[in-house]
Assembly symmetry: none
Homo-oligomer: 205 residues x 4
Amino acid sequence: MARPKLENAESKLLAAGLSLFAKEGTERVNSNLIARRAGVGIGTFYSHFSDKYSLLREIESRTLAGLRAARLAAIREVVQVGQVGKAVLDLAQQARPSVDAAVRFAEQHPEAYRVTFGRERAGASRHGPVVSESARPLAEALRRLQAVGRLTADLDVDLSARAYLSMEVGTLLWWLEDPSRAEATDLVDTLARMHPAAQWVDQAR
Amino acid sequence: MARPKLENAESKLLAAGLSLFAKEGTERVNSNLIARRAGVGIGTFYSHFSDKYSLLREIESRTLAGLRAARLAAIREVVQVGQVGKAVLDLAQQARPSVDAAVRFAEQHPEAYRVTFGRERAGASRHGPVVSESARPLAEALRRLQAVGRLTADLDVDLSARAYLSMEVGTLLWWLEDPSRAEATDLVDTLARMHPAAQWVDQAR
Amino acid sequence: MARPKLENAESKLLAAGLSLFAKEGTERVNSNLIARRAGVGIGTFYSHFSDKYSLLREIESRTLAGLRAARLAAIREVVQVGQVGKAVLDLAQQARPSVDAAVRFAEQHPEAYRVTFGRERAGASRHGPVVSESARPLAEALRRLQAVGRLTADLDVDLSARAYLSMEVGTLLWWLEDPSRAEATDLVDTLARMHPAAQWVDQAR
Amino acid sequence: MARPKLENAESKLLAAGLSLFAKEGTERVNSNLIARRAGVGIGTFYSHFSDKYSLLREIESRTLAGLRAARLAAIREVVQVGQVGKAVLDLAQQARPSVDAAVRFAEQHPEAYRVTFGRERAGASRHGPVVSESARPLAEALRRLQAVGRLTADLDVDLSARAYLSMEVGTLLWWLEDPSRAEATDLVDTLARMHPAAQWVDQAR
DNA sequence: AATGAATGAGATTTCATTCAT
DNA sequence: TATGAATGAAATCTCATTCAT
């Protein structure tokens, strides 16, 4: 099978790092601790990652890739169900599935989500801003809508994308602290309603 | 005069800490460095603060107090101009001035804002979550509106308050990275329009 | 008194480093060992020197300065005894006292001499070549002799200076390994006879 | 053919070690690096050499053997051209060819020469002093001259041999740093003139 | 109250060496 | 014989904290 073996030292290090970063925080964890938890020697840690931030970056890029894939998969379903011709433009329809995918992803990978997007991020300046990366595709989609006149031209798409994602991330982090705070469905409802595609596209009509 | 003297060791330490935290990040700064920058001995540092997180907490609480004061002052003006009796309930009217005050505060104190709300926050768990603290008064105001039937009862006020503030903070941090990204007025417009008071109160009418 | 106190941490570190480098060699010594021998904490080591090579460089520059001073003092005596007018040019007369001073210096500071000029020099490339530094003044003196026609013009003064000093250093290091190998006076005789000033100045007459 | 194949793991290790030692210095190179550069596994390194100093020793002994052979070949030519009977004693005639051979050897194998005789020699005490080894044959030759009365009896042959070779080595290392510093012929001239055989034999006549 | 040299626990990092394949 | 992932002892270096002045 293609699934990476857990006996693999790198996999064990990533798993140990994820769980420790999530539980203790980036700075209260050190390379020795991660290696010990992973059940490998400290030398093994350094033959796989140049330092703990390198491991953190790997966790983040995997998380971002996973989240992106989940959103795309969700959108693709909608597109296949609906009319293919109008698909690309129907961001409004895509908004809810995309939000839904994000909420589910956070629910299923709470540690990865917290580690990747959480506030406790000492090495933040060492690896580029993570939210910005997620904002880019959304901004592009909004720009495409603007280009075909489906979105009011005076909207700052970068600002909107960034504002929305800050909200999504902040809300999900708050929710993950105590999932009893809200129903996942209410979360999706609230976020989808605030999604730029839902807000501005409607008004542009 | 009430203004603290800059020759005051504590003031010098706070100023040096703020500038260093903002420039280098919380973890790449240590107490010795802060003391040297402040032009005082390391011993003096420890006679004023128990550790660097204590100084950081002081910066944060001053920043939060300053921001709260700025919002209140802005609202008070509106209230004084309008009718006093209805004042407490007129959250819709207060939303824009409050957002405006926040944007101006971030603009005038970029370092303090970044240090207090920024993502690079290693000691995060050591000092309570900062955004939550700001969310409480907003949630209370929304709850009061709900109590008098001016706001739809099925709205989760905690969720809304938190969602909005995540957005406000995330957007302002992004803007401070490069203020040429947007006009301050556009920022206020966008944020005010997303403000729960503007959104839900209107719809409840 | 101007003499540096031995209670001074830096002095103790320099003394411990000198003795350890001489006995064990540059690479078999580490900063912890030096600190322990000096009777200070490891932190004290790093608050005085950035690493062990920094301490080594300090030893070297002090040794070079001491050797240079010893040579100059020896020459100055000769000059004061002889006729002042001809003094500067009379390198031939200066050669023997200079060599004598070097031999005595090596005899009195065998550890410093070995550490500074010895072959076991791992950090060599990190701090400029030490022999070259000593060769420069000698080359300059030879050049002055050439300028006034007291030295054959076709002599490569840099080459001669370097060649002579390689010999002086190599011979003294060999001698210090076992001083019974030769009498100090024989050493001075042999070296002085090979000195460029003795060799080439005579022949130029 | 007698020439060792380059595909041979040992040859590749020796070549990689030589080039790395020369470029990076003995201490900044480790066995893993040498193996990687040689294109063989680290395990292969250890099946050929017990550690990096073993490889270094091998390089040195090959270099010393090569240099000795070059000197002998040069002398043999002189001897064969001249009268065989007097050959052994005619050290004066042999001096120049021997020096010439050394200069050419250094010119043709700069890395090997630098690694073998260079100052940066951390493991120096682990493998016997290299210059001394070269000094012995010269001292023997001088001693034979003394025995037959061709060399003044009060000369310390060990001291002379050592002094001369220090000079030869020091000068050649200096020259190799920047070969434009002197013509090879000038080097040979200068060194040959300082050679004990040239100096003392002549004077003993 | 202010100072800053000194401290050492602990984190980071290197690299010679082993051993299962 | 060749391999290279894994190892951990040991070295380097940081920095919060103390304390004599």
